[in-house]
């Protein structure tokens, strides 16, 4: 089967006034099949949000190819790019800044239809009503302004706006991290239900492993502009092989497993800046398992079967410092 989204060697670099370069995204490759959801997990500065913006062509990659279906997005610009945007939409992190405060809710959801001239003009209001109902808002709320909605309701509006063009792909950039837990669960369940009903494909950016495990079929772990590990969700959480993935898993706090609290595996330091990152393994500086080889030779993504790829010289040889993973290793 041909993947819906095919990204090859994507690179986004930003030059700084000081003459240095931010290697925000530095050679990322992945495929997403129709109906799947592909999670990208990482900390700040990992480049996960820049990846999302590059997919949406909100920032320009300096290298690489993005294929949606059969179309090469990186080759498009101007009106052809503008008119194909209905095939891919985005849900942003902050529901407060992602809605224009001057547009009524109904106008905000209708805007993409008007701008891209989708569907008959007369049917657009009905379509907006349908979208409101599908995301769990009353169509009467159309006449209200964004500031009259709560955070969760705003995110529902953003989802309605993203869905109204019947896109093939939705890029969700931390869609629940600004919301309270109870509201977060409502939005996650909504995204999941809509995906099932409409056979949507998601690229889901998050810093929260538990959220990604809940919603995604495939996961990539990103560190300083690169994927260090990627695998189908079940495989990754059952048998993660990269020390950075372990550190994220160990650091995840959970009210369900209090046994993990206290003495846990932690890495030292903070993610270094993506300005001039280390030449060899980028995690070597924080990795408790690092050797001289890690500091001089760059690891490549190696395949461990079932689409499980890890960029670590010692992947498969190290014993995971997490008891759950060690048991299955």
């Amino acid at each position: 089967m041909k993947p819906l989204l095919d990204v090859k060697d994507l690179k986004v670099h930003f030059p700084l006034a000081s003459g240095q370069t931010v290697y925000a995204v530095d050679g990322v490759t992945f495929q997403v099949n129709e109906g799947d959801s592909f999670g990208i997990v990482g900390e700040s500065g990992s480049g996960k949000s820049t990846t999302a913006q590059a997919l949406m062509r909100l920032v320009d990659p300096i290298e690489g190819v993005i294929h949606l279906d059969t179309q090469d997005l990186t080759a498009l610009s101007g009106d052809p790019l503008r008119t194909m945007r209905h095939k891919m939409q985005m849900v942003f992190q902050d529901p407060y800044s992602s809605l224009n405060p001057r547009l009524r809710a109904g106008q905000a959801v209708r805007e993409p239809l008007d701008l891209m001239g989708l569907g008959p003009v007369r049917g657009r209001d009905t379509r907006v009503d349908e979208m409101f109902t599908q995301v769990g808002l009353h169509p009467d709320a159309k006449r209200l302004f964004p500031h009259q909605f709560s955070g969760g309701q705003r995110q529902r509006l953003c989802i309605a706006r993203a869905m109204v063009t019947e896109p093939r792909l939705i890029v969700c950039d931390e869609p629940v991290s600004a919301l309270d837990v109870a509201i977060q669960a409502q939005i996650l369940n909504l995204l999941k239900r809509l995906q099932k009903d409409k056979r949507l494909t998601y690229v889901f950016i998050s810093h929260d492993l538990a959220v990604v495990q809940h919603i995604c079929t495939h996961v990539a772990v990103m560190y300083l502009g690169e994927f260090v590990e990627q695998a189908p969700t079940g495989q990754l959480f059952a048998a993660a092989k990269h020390p950075y993935t372990w550190s994220l898993m160990a650091a995840a706090l959970s009210p369900h497993d209090r046994s993990r609290a206290g003495a846990r595996f932690t890495v030292t330091g903070e993610p270094p800046s993506p300005i001039d990152p280390p030449k060899a393994c980028r995690f070597a500086g924080r990795c408790p398992f690092a050797t001289d080889r890690c500091r001089t030779e760059k690891p490549t993504l190696r395949d461990f079967g079932l689409g499980h790829r890890v960029a670590c010289h010692y992947a498969g040889e190290l014993t995971p410092p997490l008891p759950e993973l060690a048991a299955t290793a």
């Binding site: 909100l58 902050d94 224009n100 808002l137 953003c158």
Partner: protein, 291 residues
């Protein structure tokens, strides 16, 4: 599961209502608004309430205020000062408003393109802006008026042409801030063209400080016009406050009212405009609103 039928909670007021309330709470802004109403009322209703020709001689020259024929006295040609101030107000306000509109339009165009596109376009436009900013504006305006002749239109254009850089800088800063907001990215992914993003999405959000700047630009333009007229570069055929001052300036010590009264008119107008401008600024600033 569909929940949340519609937004709950006390509905916050519409931003416009909120703005009006905040503005109404600001005493100095209300005083400014009343002064402005008096100025505008005098200028536009004055000719009907006080139908005296501003250009004809009604009494001896330099008749002091309180005389039988001219309540505010007469100027060096024996013309009625009150009629002159009423008549001159129209030209002064018109020049002020028109020049402000010109500077705001140029400023917004330059600033929005620079702020929106950034990079080379920004660098080029900002170089042009800086070029206009480093020139002494009064001298530049004087040169323009000298070359193109002292008519109301050239004066207006000259003032507009030299006072836009400030607006441009402000507009650029606002555009650079707002263009980074997610809803601009959302509009782009919704299929918006650049023109739509600039004029329909970002500009409305950038307007509040620009409206304030426009108000202050009116005040500045009035002062500018007065300055030009005072230096003898005003339109000699149209009565304006600056012109009255300029023509009577040699007699300041003998007939103080000929210079002082139009000066007071200018002062009140500019004060009213800045009070109202400050009021708008504060009312638009949510941090100050609560006080």
């Amino acid at each position: 599961m569909t929940t949340l039928p519609d937004p709950i909670g006390p509905k916050p007021a519409h931003p416009a209502t909120e703005f009006m309330r905040a503005f109404a709470r600001n005493q100095s802004a209300i005083i400014g608004l009343m002064l402005l109403a008096i100025v505008l009322g005098t200028t536009f209703l004055g000719p009907f309430l006080y139908p005296v020709d501003a250009y004809s001689m009604v009494d001896l020259p330099f008749a002091p205020p309180g005389g039988d024929y001219a309540p505010l006295g007469t100027d060096y040609l024996g013309r009625d000062m009150l009629a002159g101030i009423i008549e001159g107000g129209r030209a002064t306000l018109a020049v002020g408003a028109a020049a402000a509109v010109i500077s705001v339009v140029i400023g917004i165009l330059v600033g929005s393109f620079a702020g929106f596109f950034g990079g080379a376009i920004d660098a080029l436009l900002m170089k042009v802006t800086e070029f206009f900013q480093i020139l002494p504006t009064l001298l530049l305006a004087m040169v323009l008026v000298t070359i193109f002749g002292a008519s109301l239109v050239t004066i207006t254009l000259a003032i507009g042409a030299v006072s836009w850089p400030q607006v441009a800088r402000l507009a650029r800063a606002e555009f650079m801030r707002i263009r980074k907001l997610d809803y601009v990215a959302a509009a782009r992914t919704s299929g918006a063209r650049n023109g739509y993003l600039i004029f329909r999405v970002i500009l409305p959000a950038a307007l509040p400080p620009l409206i304030v700047a426009a108000g202050l630009a009116v005040g500045a333009a009035i002062l500018f016009e007065a300055g030009l007229s005072f230096l003898g570069l005003g339109d000699p055929n149209t009565m304006s406050w600056g012109l009255i001052i300029g023509q009577n300036r040699n007699y300041l010590l003998d007939a103080w009212w000929t210079v002082t009264l139009p000066g007071v008119a200018i002062f009140i107008t500019v004060l009213a405009i800045s009070l109202v401008g400050d009021g708008i600024n504060d009312a638009l600033n949510p941090k100050l609103r609560r006080r």
